[in-house]
Structure formats: structure tokens, C-alpha cells
Symmetry: C2
Subunit: 285 residues, 2 copies
């Protein structure tokens, strides 16, 4: 008897390829007098958020995209945040706008995101972007959701005609991902914290995407032998590390393929934010 181990669905090769394309496009745009610029609005002193924003800024710098961190006080009002987003929408030197979460108490991202100009909404946060995506119209998808599809593509995983269980119904991952997968002819089941008998539901699927934000939620009983499993979870550990939603050891021994955390969906997500930014600068959606 062999000891099967799941293939590792690493995101780095696709992220590298995307970055090469982005670097080329950013250089062309700069030469044409439109140096691409991304603005990340931050209204929190949360340290993991600061770390994430720094990682975006670093990735942007490496590809030749300017990245401004636009700081607001951690007690900023919804009106202040909305006003700042509108200003960035009107600024012709800014091409991409991200509203970073968490937000101050009293502010809800989905309610403020309509102040992000749709043509600069590089993380697909404006409800209009989500609606256009759902309606099959051109729109920037939330980068994490699109990254899942790109990761599967990069590893030759066909989704058309297959069943996909998406665990998590968030506006930033689960719901837009369902639409992206439907567009590709997958049969999609959206599961969540109120799903009864989750293991049986996910174990019926050819592909399982874990996007619930609960460490270790997906165990061996949640996946059928030979399934493809994508782990979108990025849960901070007490020692400053990162774990996904999947029990990698148990699932890795049963699944055909599993994406690592970190190094799976994450690198592609960051690359897509930058790709959307150069596309916004080039006015190619």
C-alpha cells in the first residue's frame, strides 16, 4: 500500500507569471505618462492588517506600481471614510482604491464601498461590482475569489461540469466565488456555519473550497478520496504565523490536491490586486 500525499497547489508560479505581466504593463503605462497608482485606505491600528498592507505595498513596489497607504484615525466616522474614498475616486493620479478592513466600529465595509469609484474598485468591494459580476458583466472581482479560480487554472483543474462546495458565504470570497465558478459551468454548493451535516455535503463535491475563517474546520471526513481542496483561510496563530481552514495533514493524506497556507491562494490574491490596478490605469477592465 502506498502512502498517498496530495499534490501541492502552490500559488507562487502563477503569482510570478502575473507579476511579470504586471511589471511589463506598469512600465508601459509609466512610459505613456500614466504611472499606475494604488491607494489603500486604512482606518485601524490592527497589526496583522498593517502587516498585510505592507506586503501589498512591497509587491506593488516590485512591479513598478506606486502604493499609497491612506491613513485615517482608528475612530474615523463612516462619513470621513466615505469622503476619503470619494476624493480618491476624483483623483486622476489614483487608479486603484482598496478599503482595508477591519473598519472602526459603526462602519460596515459593504455600506461604504459604494463610495469606491467602480472603475477603480480593484478589490471588487462596491456592491455594483458584485452585481455586475453576478450578471455576467465586466467588473473587477474580489481578488481572493478570483485567485481561487486562477489557482485551479494554474494547476489544470477543470471546474466545468464538476461539483464545487464553497464553505463560507462572505461578500468578499464565498458569494463572488460562487458566481465565478458558475460562469465556468461548475455546479456550485454554498455551505456556511448553519449548514447541517457539513461533512456529508462537502464530501459529495469534486472540489472543496474552504473560506470560512475557522482553523481546522475541514478534516478528512469533509473530503472524498481524490478531491481537490483549496484553502482560502488565513487565520493568525498565537506565534504570529498563519494557518488555513483545512487540517492539512489529515486532508493531505486523502485529497488528490491541496493548496498550502501560506503560499497558495495568497500570493495570487496580491498579484491580482496589482493586475486590476494596471488594468484600471489602462482602462481595460
Amino acid at each position: 500500500m502506498t502512502n498517498p500525499t496530495a499534490a501541492e497547489l502552490t500559488g507562487r508560479p502563477r503569482a510570478d507569471a502575473l507579476r511579470a505581466e504586471i511589471t511589463r504593463l506598469a512600465a508601459e503605462l509609466a512610459q505613456d505618462g500614466t504611472p499606475p497608482r494604488l491607494a489603500v485606505v486604512v482606518a485601524t491600528e490592527d497589526e496583522p492588517t498593517a502587516w498585510y498592507v505592507r506586503s501589498i505595498a512591497r509587491a506593488a513596489a516590485r512591479t513598478g506600481i506606486a502604493c499609497d497607504t491612506v491613513r485615517l484615525p482608528a475612530d474615523a466616522s463612516p462619513e470621513q471614510i466615505r469622503e476619503r474614498l470619494s476624493e480618491l475616486g476624483a483623483d486622476p493620479t489614483v487608479h486603484g482604491v482598496i478599503l482595508q478592513t477591519p473598519l472602526p466600529e459603526g462602519s460596515v465595509a459593504a455600506e461604504l464601498a459604494d463610495a469606491i469609484a467602480p472603475e477603480k474598485d480593484v478589490d471588487g468591494a462596491n456592491p455594483l461590482s458584485l452585481g455586475r459580476l453576478a450578471a455576467g458583466l465586466p467588473a473587477f472581482a474580489p481578488a481572493t475569489a478570483e485567485a481561487v479560480v486562477q489557482l485551479l487554472d494554474a494547476h489544470g483543474v477543470v471546474v466545468a461540469g464538476r461539483t464545487v462546495a464553497v464553505v463560507g458565504r462572505s461578500t468578499v470570497v464565498g458569494k463572488p466565488l460562487a458566481h465565478l465558478l458558475l460562469d465556468r459551468d461548475a455546479t456550485v454548493t454554498v455551505c456556511h456555519s448553519r449548514t447541517v451535516g457539513l461533512p456529508a455535503v462537502t464530501a459529495a463535491a469534486d472540489i472543496v473550497v474552504a473560506a470560512a475563517g475557522r482553523p481546522g474546520l475541514i478534516t478528512a471526513e469533509h473530503v472524498k478520496p481524490g478531491a481537490v481542496v483549496v484553502d482560502v483561510g488565513t487565520n493568525p496563530t498565537p506565534d504570529g504565523g498563519l494557518v488555513g481552514d483545512v487540517d492539512a495533514a489529515a486532508v493531505g493524506a486523502k485529497a488528490a490536491a491541496l493548496s498550502p497556507v501560506p503560499g497558495g491562494v495568497g500570493p495570487i490574491t496580491t498579484a491580482l490586486l496589482l493586475r486590476h490596478t494596471v488594468r484600471a490605469a489602462a482602462r481595460v477592465l
Copy 2:
């Protein structure tokens, strides 16, 4: 051995109750100087469409809502349609706007519907409405999708924690319905014409909603014994009648409950268009 027959999920009692509420609200609005008015934009000479629009106008008249059929030529351009929608958006005497399909060749409803003012978008056709719905923000849902949820409610069918297979991924029914059901804590699978092994997928579900527009698509093998089946199909028959997507005889002998066509989802759909119109007039979304 008994000969089981599915309970009939008729839509008329709920539609009647809604109409009573709407009539009362419409009278109040008229008394306050805001007689509610619905405009239906029609750019086709299609006879079933004309019939449907007349049925909306009749239902509106019965509840005290003015209903204008706004006719455009069957060869109207997208620009003409868009302009008309914008005019209606700016007209303070009009509270609800519906863009009736089919549209002339070259016009796509999803692409034109962003010209419907969101606060008058009583059939949830503007992508912004769909995105707000998906994001859990207040929005008018497409009436047909909302009617499915209302029909289940009216008959005491609980969806929370249950599995629902939605057959059909249209922007007007399948996709918004998935969001409405997710909001109610159902576990939702969206199936479509490219779903492989549809009977097995739908037969795993507690509730099956047929919204594919294919007469007789759902047969006994597609449903498990005791399932609840909602038929959204409205397929014209050669003799001028209407049939759903469900083989009612076969499925009726196996399911616990089945909605009839006509008389199931349809009456509630019309009532909800009118309810949205009075809500739009009252500025209560």
C-alpha cells in the same frame, strides 16, 4: 398502500393577502398626494409579453396603482431604451420602472438595466440591486426570486438548515434566489444546463426549485421522496396554455409538496411587483 399525492403549494392565498396590504397602502399614498405609479417599458410585439403586461396592468388597477405601458418600437436602439429609462427615473410621478423582456436584437437587459433608477427598480433588474442583495444590503429583489421564498413561507416550509437545489442560473431568478436562500441559512446548490448528473444532484436536496425554462425537465428521478418542489417555469404551450419545468404527475406522486403552474409562484410574483411599487412610492425599501 396509499396513493400519496403532493400537497399543492398554491400561491393565491399569499397573493391575496399581499394585494389587500397593497390596496390599503396605495389608498393611503393617494390620500397623501402620492398616487403610486408603475411604468412598464415594452419594446416588443411578442404576444405572450403583451398578455403578461396586461395582467400586470389589471392587477395594478385592482389595487389602486396606476400602470403605464411605455411602448417603444420593436427595433428601438439600446440608446433609445436607455434614454426612456432615464426619463422615467427623473419623473417624480413614476415610482416603479420595469424593463420588459424580450428586447430588440442588440439590446441586453442586464446591460441596460443600470439606467433604471435603483430606488424605482421594483423588479431588481439593475446590477446594483443584485449586488446589494448579494451583499445583504436593502434592495428590491427580482420579484420572481422573492416570490419563491414567499411561497415557501406561506406554506410553512422552513429553509434554514436545509439543502435547496436551484435549477437555473439566470440573473432574474436562479442567482438572486440563491442569495435570498443563503440569507435564510439554507445550503444552496445552483445547477444548470451544464450540470453533470442533474438527477442525482437534485435528488439529494430537501427542496428543489425548477427555474430552467425547460418543460418537463424535472421528473420523478430528480426528486427524493418527501421533497418540496417549487416550479418557476412558465413555458407557453402550442394551445396558448402554460406549463412549468416539472413533470407534475410524476413528481406529484413522489414529492411532499409541489407548486402548480399556473397558480403557484406567478400570482405572488405579480403581487410583489406591486408591493415594491408602493414601497418605492412610500420610500420604504
